[in-house]
């Protein structure tokens, strides 16, 4: 009886909800083992959109991508940054192993131009990765980006506010990031394959070096004093 059940379960038409999709599509390892385990194929989906949702900039969202970006910069293809909120800092990027000569930053004037730029970069296939900080997202624009990523076989990363977590999205992977002690709490909102209920903790190398502050003052109470 159980043997026949096994053979039924072997059938390729059967999909079991509790296992992640074994996609043939190649994935880009994130460099964080705990995260890789949960992602289909064992990494970021290449040729699809990844949405990174966060309530504020600077909680470690770039450090999460850096191992992959550093490895992608070894290969041909641009790492395109579209409409970054601040200046991507050259010395720090070089320190995590990103080759600066593969980096290209685009600062479009209007939101429409920014979406156009992101789409062109994904579609051309000339980019290893696209990071974009776009506003005024709607479903049609998102779908265009997702299709462009599939056409160009490029990893597209969209940074959006955590407010958008409830919106529908065609992205293949959606992560909600929250700061946590010495790392990030990553909630996988959507992935190919089944859902994951619990957030995963990703330990990250501490930013800013390990030198202790000699100044004992625990708080910046001097400000505006």
């Amino acid at each position: 009886m159980s043997a026949s059940l096994e053979s039924v379960l072997q059938h390729p038409g059967i999909w079991r909800g509790n296992q992640r999709a074994q996609t043939a599509e190649d994935a880009l390892p994130t460099g964080f083992a705990t995260l890789d385990e949960l992602l289909p194929g064992g990494g970021w989906p290449r040729g699809a959109l990844t949405e990174v949702l966060l309530s504020r900039q600077g909680i470690g969202e770039l450090r999460l991508l850096m191992p992959t970006l550093a490895r992608l910069s070894e290969a041909d293809g641009w790492l395109a940054w579209v409409a970054p909120p601040y200046v991507p800092y050259a010395a720090a990027l070089a320190a995590v192993g990103v080759r600066l000569e593969r980096l290209v930053v685009a600062k479009p004037q209007s939101e429409a131009d920014a979406w156009w730029t992101a789409e062109q970069a994904l579609r051309s296939g000339a980019c290893g990765a696209l990071l974009a900080w776009l506003r005024a997202a709607d479903e049609r624009r998102m779908r265009r980006l997702q299709l462009a990523a599939e056409t160009g076989h490029t990893w597209g990363v969209l940074f959006r506010h955590a407010r958008a977590a409830q919106d529908r999205s065609p992205a293949a992977l959606r992560l909600l990031l929250e700061p946590s002690r010495d790392g990030l709490a990553v909630t996988i909102l959507k992935r190919r394959g089944g859902p994951v209920s619990k957030p995963v903790f990703v330990a990250m190398p501490q930013a800013g070096g390990a030198r202790r502050a000699r100044r004992a003052a625990p708080a910046l109470s001097v400000v505006n004093a």
Binding site: I59, D76, A106, Q109, A126, G208, R214
Partner: protein
Amino acid sequence: MLWLALHFHALSLEVFSRGAAVPDPLAVVEKQGSRTRVIACNEAAAACGVRVGMAAPAAQALADGLIVRRRDPSAERESLAGLAVWAGRFTPSVSLSPPDGLLLEISTCLSLHRGLANLLKQARSGIGEMGYAAAMACAPSSHGAWLLAKAGIEKVIRERARLEQILAALPVALLHQPPAVLESLERVGAKTLGECLRLPRGGVARRFGQTLVDELDRALGRLPEARAFFAPPPSFERSLELPAPVQDAEALQFAARRLLPELEGYLMLRQAGVQELELVCCHERRADTVLKLGFAKPSRDAARMQLLLRETLGRTRLPAAVHTIILRAPLVLPLSASCGDLFQKSSEADGDLLLERLRIRLGKDAVYGIETAADHRPENAWRPCQEQASAMATANRHRPLWLLPKPLPCHDGRLKLKAGPERIESGWWDGGDATRDYYVAEDKNGARLWVFCDRISGEWFVHGVFA
């Protein structure tokens, strides 16, 4: 030796009509003696009953809206030179046969173009793209090929015996001889080259001049030919007069496309590429509009130029109607031919194209790379670069991934200092004086900030985010 002769039989017409996609009825006239006669007309005019040899007023009466242009020999010369430049893509041995022919020595470059059939196909489509039409013939002697092309016999002949056979049937009127000679040849009954060849050589030379005998011998390949080869001009500038003024920038694209193959051929002949192109749009009573096209690397690919031109024209608003366009390559840079990849992988080329397209739409300064600079002040330790950033980067693991474009005054009293200080004192010599103590601070949400205390004013600023 194998010569390819191109006879542009409608060149006098095409210099006026090739800028338009759908030609209007057009006739070219020339003064012959006391009367002005039609010497060429296009199909649209012929459909109205206009014929070559008609008096100009008669033609005008026949076709309503007929455009009549006086023949322009200088434009024809220029067009022929442009075609010679274009033909440089096939062979460096291009010879002019004014007013309306080109002779290409192609025996040495057949394998480069993967055979004669392929070369002829490319030549025909290229000529069509530029808005011309030509009769093409191949023969072992240049003059033989030229006579064939002029007679409209589009054949490839490799053996001399066969060439002699075919030439024998051609009329003597094709020969490059004074009219008096041709007339007297007809009077003695020699109407074809074959009949001419059957006459006794000595007698022909005495009666009609040695030049006739020599020309026949050259055509048959019995006498060596000395041809001067065309030398490309040092810079490229070609103009195209539009048949009617054009206001819409997109419509200019068609005319510009006529000029790009010539530029490509010119660059191939010179083993060169361009990094910048100018398209000058000439207006009536108004300063010209100059559109500039930039490439990430020197290029000579007409398809790529066309793509970028389309994007540029699509984003251009012309102040007035355009009557002439000029394509200009101000600076020609050396560029050796690239080897075709066996597996058709050209991601590098795609990457440049992407940058060029982004720069056209977003502006040149909005798309840049970043590199490190030798300065201790954080805001000066990086700079945007238009060229590819140098591979020599100064890494510093104590720096944040995000730098704020301008330090923000910090009013949050709940920051905790985690690391520091790092004292930076620099720039007293250039007015951008910085005397700061940098710390890594953590705010109440757990985000790590790069803050500094200005040691002169004692105020605190946020300068970066450890994202």
